[in-house]
Every structure is written in structure tokens, then in C-alpha cells.
Point group: C2
Chain length 446, copies 2
């Protein structure tokens, strides 16, 4: 096995191709502990620098998928669709989309991660709802989806264990930002959900994992190819992450904003992204004949309260206090809050998402290490958006913190993150491109 | 420390430069166990693929050198010169050179390694002399060099421990054949000998570590640069390893051939390489005014028995049976031997050194793993050389083995290694180039 690993390291080092059976053998041997971390680290660095072609990326995805368990949901007889985002600051879209799309007859088996670095995680947000459990077994998740069409759970150790081990190693060896490795990692987990369709939210801009548009498009195309090869239709939208999405940044604050959005009262940018991604999910899931029809159906589900009722069902099924949907004050409340006022008149030139995301972590609301615990109550609500004209002393944001020291730290964060100038470049369009297996087109509002 | 490692991995991955202080920090942290193997493996693969420039190679050499102890021999007041070979089959040159050069007034602090893979190691050869100890402390080696001008010892754990650890990792992660990494590894050990001069024997041809001439020249130039920057003059000769050097291949058999050579009775190719390298050592060590004068001095030391007497002194000082110099039959003798006869008439087209080297290992005379023990008595004496015209049934070689099964295995090795044809390409010139800090010139026989 060590000799096999050595041969494959050497070949990838010299720019050669790894065959499907070799990917399987290497992945299984690594998952089983027969190939040591140091050999896999050398291999991953060679793969990072030399790249993987489409067939190799596909073989790696299959190999990682086959090391673990997966959901089987074909017997439901309805579309099974999830959404994946490359991660951003203030991105509470999953919390809205899952109940909204499930309320319209598409099964949503949603497995999510925890926050790390400057971006938050859906699991942390959900767990700010008192009692909410995200650790469901695959059997429990299946039963819940059979009953109410949706489950929102953490990725268990049963799913793609080779990917879990390999991702931790990549994180420690600066081999994360490789498009084929990212695509294979995400798709091996998403395909384990037994999906018939997947919608990708690929962020671009300074707060995105891959800030450059061309890299985001390449990731989208790679993941679309992987899905198509396995009978899972994939559509990607390119969305803006040069500023936080919506106003709330912080776990409980984002849950509250998600609930407002489910009632149609959310910030326009959150609603815009939710409707655009949701329409794709409903069409892929066979629950709407067109994007326009899907959008109209969602508007009705929101205005009628049907989407909000579905969120209550999900929260209730997972042990949480469903009263939160009518009364968000049951969420944990911060000990102190204070307004942040514009230090001068002008135009908001920038709300830097990485600075805001790191600011949430500094307040105790995020992780720098995976084992850190998270304070759900802290964060920011930033009402100012790039391009807004503001007066000196006008409130731009609110800091929510544990105590006075936290308030001061939060205000410092906002002073650095929010730039006011005489003039400002226009921000990125909220949604700029739509990518399918047929190609890339500019996004057009439905 | 882990964050530092991660930053340096990332920079080298993207083709950037590592600064001197960073090389030091990384090397020290790795030697101390603060940087895990998997991070170093990723770094080494990035370094392998992206390369190191001259300043980086130099910084890495210094960093590894400074993790360990070194010999201090300046107080001797004479030149201190060693030879390093990139490794070959039948290469017993060190056994001849050390006593020969030491007998002419240059100190030779010779640290060597063990055989691994298809090439033999000087330590294994010396240890076939009954009683010979190669594990000397640096203090013992210093006292012996003060007294008799030479010590032949193993590289102790005190010398460049970071290199030792890094080399084992490179061996397991297919990152060995990188010229800057090789050069830094060799020079960090050689410079620890406290040398004023170093002569390199860079092999080329099918049996060499780097078979291609241009890669050998690049390695030579890299090592010359490293030496020059530290006040250690370096000269390299490019020598042939498209066939074994001399006739004997196997530990005790090579000691016997080395003793014959010390008396002027060795094979012409061994004598040719010994005199060429020895002349460079004597000039670098200030013991001869020119290469011609050095060569004449060596011829006298050989014919007078002075060189052989120096070998006796060394053997005696290190606990060995010095009678071996007058009577090689005190060496371990193989249980069985048999001639190998030419299977047809023709011209010897090839004596494949890798096949011969692996054949020695198969007889028990070499290692496939570092912990294997070695049978000193087995091996081959191959009298046929490429270009020789031979008759059908003419003896070409002798197999020395433990038993009948070994004899059969050895004969099979020779049938594969020795090719007889109607015509043959000329072999590589024994010594083709001389490389100094001034450049490369064709080698001219003195």
C-alpha cells in the first residue's frame, strides 16, 4: 500500500494522470489508516499544483462517496433537491430556503456544516434556537423527510469519511483552494444526500472563498460536470459577497432575520437570493414548470404563512422551540447593545465582509478552531449598504455583545469595516450569472 | 509554529521565496517535532515542484547544519579534505582515497553512509574487515585525525539531525530527486566535517542516481556554489556509471580490490578514478602544487607501500584486523563460488550496473530496508568490460554466494546484466568533465 502511494505521488508530482481504480485504492487505504498523513499530504500538494482533469475529479468524488453511507430517498417519488453555498458573511439563505421549498412539495435533505474562519455555519445558526438538535442519524433523517419533507442536519461521521479526514489534512497543509479538490469534496457529500438536483450559490467578491469571478465560474462548471455524470442536475448562480448578505451577522440575529424573510419582511437582498435559488430548486425538483411559476408559488407560500408553518414543523421535529417563528424573542439575547453612528457624511463605499465576519468571531460568535464553542447571541445588524448616502451621526449598525468590552471591540470592527467616502464604485450585482451544463448566461431577474 | 509552517507551505506552493530566518525557524521547529511530518511533506513537495533558488538552497543548508554538531579541525594547521560520491555500483574509491591522501599530509575526516537500494555503502564495506568499528564519537574521531590524519566513520545522530529526519520523509514521499534538496542535504553533512576542501564524484549513466549529464552538472554547480559561499573550495569530476566501477561488487570483495588498488595492482578504471580525485584532494588540501605533482606523489605513496601502511594504521585505530592489508584472506569468505561463462561469442555491449547492484542485494549483500543486515562475503567479480571481444564459453565473471541457490540466482543476474552482441556502442568516457567555480571543462588526463 505504501508502495502504491509512493508510485501515485511520483506520477502526480510529474504531472501524470491517476486512474479510477487507483483513486479508489488510495482513498480507501487512506480512510483505513494504511496510508499515513505525510504521504497523503505530499500527494495532495502535487495534486494542488499539477491539477486533476475531469475524469480524475470524477473518480476521486466516486471514491470518497463510496467510503461512506448515503441517504436513499428515491422511494419518496418526488424531487430531492438541496442548495450548497461556497460560504459568506450574513448568509442565512439555507434557513429560509429549506422550509420554503419543502412547503411546495420538494424533499430537502439538507446537510450543513459549522462555521470556521470568517464565515458562519448553518448548524450553529439552527442551534441558537433553544432545544434544536442537528445530530440526526441517517435513519432518523429519512423518517423525518418522509413525514414532513425536510431535515436539517449535520454531516455525520458516516458520510464520506475519507473526505472528512482529507479535508482536515488539506486545511493544515495549505491545499484547500484547489478547484478539483474542492469540487470533489463538496460533491462527495452532497451526492450522499441522494439528490435528484442541486443548486449552487457560488459567491464572488472580497468576502468569498474564491474572490475572482473566473475561479468561481470554474468551480461551478466542475461541480455541474460531476453532478451531470451522476444523474444529478446542477444549476449555479453567482452572487455577490463584496458586502454581507442582508443585515444580520451572528447566529441568533440571523435566525431572526431568516424568520422575517420567511414572512416576506426580510431585507430585499436576502429575499432576492432566496427567490432566485428557490425557483431553481423548485424547477429542478419538478414542482414548478418554470422559474416564473416557481417564483409566484413561493410568494404565495410566504404571504399565506405556509412557509413559516413548515419551519415550525421542522423545528418541532428536531426538538426545538417552534414558538420562535411567531416570537423571535425566545432566542438568546445579547447582554449589551449599542448603535454605531456614521463618523462623517458621504457615501458608503464598502462594508468589508471579512472584517465583519472576523468581528463576529472576536465577539465570541464564531470559531477559530473547530473545537471552540460559540455564543449565539452576539453579532451585528448592519443597515448601511454600499452606495447609501449617509449623514454625519446617522445610525448605520447595531453591535450586540456580552458586555462593555465586547461593545467597544464591535465598534472598532465597524469603524474598520465600514468605509465612507465622497464617491464610491458601484457594488457587484446581487446575482450576476447563471451557470448550467449548457453554459454561462447573465442572470436575468424573473 | 503551525501557522508559520502553513504560511511557508502556501508561499512555496505559489512559487514564492522563503527567507533565511524562515528556513531556520522551519528547520528547527521540524527537528524539534513542533512541525508535524504531514506539513513538512506538503512543504517538500511544493519545494520539489517549484524549486529553490541559490540563496534559498544556501539558507536551507545553513539551517540544517546548525541543528547539529560539527568537527572542528582548524587547529591541525593542514588542509581538511573529503570526497563525496553520488553513489554507484562497485565504487570502492573511498577505501583507497582516504588512506592514500592522508598518507600525503592532508587530513581526511570521512563520514560515510550505508548501502541502500542498488548502491553499496562505505560503512558496510569497512565493517567486512573483522573488528572494524565505524561508530566513533566526534571527540574520538577528532583525536584519531590529530594522531593519524584520517578517520572513517558513520554519520552520527549528532550531525544535522534535521537532515536525517527530512531525508527519511523525502524517501517516503517521492521528493528525493530534487537538485536543491539533494545538494543541501549532502552539503549540510559534509560541511559539518569542518572541511577546507571537498571533491565530488558525480556519476552519470544508467546506474547513477541522476543518469543524465545535464542534471549531474547542475547538481555539481549547486554544490560548488554552496561550498564557495562557506569558504570550502569544491571541485567535481563527472565519472561513468553506465557499468560497474572496477571488477568487484560486494562488500568484502570490494575491500580486497581496494587493497590491491592501494598497492597499485587494482583495475585500471579504479586506479584512474582514484588518481584523478586524489590529485584534486591533494591540491585543494595544499599538499601538492599541481595536479601533475599530486599524481606523481600518489604513485610513489602506492609503490612504496606508504599508502597501504596508512590503511593499516586506520584499521588498527578503529579496532579492525590490520593483517587484512597483507592477507585479504582474513576477510569473510563466501560458501560457494562459480564462474559465469560467455553464452556466445561477440562484443560485450553492456554490463548493467543497476542489475548487478540489485543482484548483490538479492544474494544478501545489500539492503532493501535500512534495518536489514548484510552478508559481507557475497557478490560478483566481473572481469568483462563493455567493448571487450569475447569467445563462446570464455569466463566473464565469478559469483560468490552462500549456497547453490545463491549461485543460481547470481548466474541469472549475470545473464540479464551482461549483454553480448555483434556490435556495441562505445561506453561513456571514464571521466568526462571537470567542474569548478570557474565553470565546466572537458576532463584531461594528467
Amino acid at each position: 500500500v505504501t508502495a502504491l502511494a509512493q508510485r501515485l505521488i511520483e506520477r502526480k508530482r510529474d504531472g501524470g494522470r491517476i486512474e479510477p481504480g487507483e483513486w479508489r485504492a488510495l482513498t480507501n487505504a487512506y480512510a483505513a489508516g494504511h496510508v499515513p498523513d505525510y504521504q497523503m499530504a505530499a500527494f495532495l500538494m502535487a495534486a494542488y499544483i499539477r491539477g486533476l482533469d475531469r475524469a480524475e475529479t470524477s473518480s476521486l468524488t466516486d471514491a470518497m462517496l463510496s467510503t461512506g453511507a448515503h441517504l436513499s430517498l428515491e422511494h419518496l417519488g418526488i424531487g430531492r433537491v438541496d442548495k450548497h453555498s461556497t460560504g459568506g458573511v450574513g448568509d442565512k439563505v439555507s434557513l429560509v430556503l429549506a422550509p420554503l421549498v419543502a412547503s411546495l412539495g420538494v424533499a430537502v435533505p439538507m446537510m450543513s456544516g459549522r462555521g470556521l474562519g470568517h464565515t458562519g455555519g448553518t448548524l450553529d445558526k439552527l442551534e441558537s434556537i433553544p432545544g434544536f438538535r442537528t445530530t440526526l442519524s441517517l435513519a432518523d433523517a429519512t423518517r423525518q423527510i418522509e413525514r414532513i419533507g425536510c431535515a436539517m442536519l449535520g454531516q455525520s461521521a458516516e458520510i464520506a469519511p475519507a473526505d472528512r479526514k482529507m479535508y482536515a489534512l488539506r486545511d493544515a497543509t495549505s491545499t484547500v483552494e484547489s478547484i478539483p479538490l474542492i469540487a470533489a469534496s463538496i460533491m462527495s457529500k452532497k451526492l450522499a444526500e441522494g439528490l435528484s438536483g442541486l443548486v449552487l450559490d457560488v459567491k464572488r467578491g472580497s468576502g468569498a472563498f474564491l474572490p475572482e469571478l473566473d475561479r468561481g465560474l470554474e468551480l461551478a462548471r466542475t461541480m455541474i460536470d460531476l453532478g451531470v455524470d451522476r444523474g444529478c442536475a446542477v444549476v449555479a448562480l453567482i452572487t455577490a459577497m463584496d458586502r454581507p448578505l442582508g443585515r444580520a451577522c451572528g447566529n441568533a440575529l440571523e435566525v431572526e432575520e431568516a424568520i422575517h424573510t420567511l414572512r416576506g419582511e426580510g431585507p430585499p437582498d436576502v429575499l432576492g437570493v432566496v427567490y432566485a435559488l428557490g425557483a431553481e430548486m423548485l424547477v429542478l425538483g419538478g414542482a414548478a414548470p418554470s422559474l416564473d411559476a416557481a417564483r409566484r408559488a413561493m410568494e404565495v407560500a410566504v404571504s399565506s404563512g405556509k412557509a413559516a408553518r413548515k419551519f415550525e414543523e421542522i423545528i418541532d421535529a428536531q426538538g426545538g422551540n417552534a414558538a420562535v417563528v411567531d416570537d423571535p424573542s425566545v432566542l438568546p439575547q445579547a447582554g449589551a447593545c449599542e448603535l454605531f453612528l456614521a463618523p462623517r457624511a458621504g457615501v458608503v463605499a464598502c462594508v468589508e465582509p471579512r472584517a465583519v465576519g472576523r468581528g463576529v468571531t472576536a465577539l465570541g460568535g464564531g470559531r477559530t478552531r473547530i473545537e471552540d464553542s460559540v455564543d449565539p447571541s452576539v453579532g451585528f445588524v448592519i443597515t448601511a449598504k454600499p452606495g447609501d448616502v449617509v449623514q454625519n451621526g446617522e445610525p448605520l449598525a447595531t453591535v450586540f455583545a456580552r458586555d462593555r468590552a465586547g461593545i467597544d471591540a464591535g465598534l472598532t470592527t465597524l469603524r474598520r469595516a465600514i468605509a465612507i467616502a465622497d464617491e464610491a464604485e458601484p457594488p457587484l450585482p446581487l446575482i450576476s450569472h447563471r451557470v448550467t451544463s449548457a453554459g454561462v448566461t447573465p442572470f436575468e431577474h424573473a
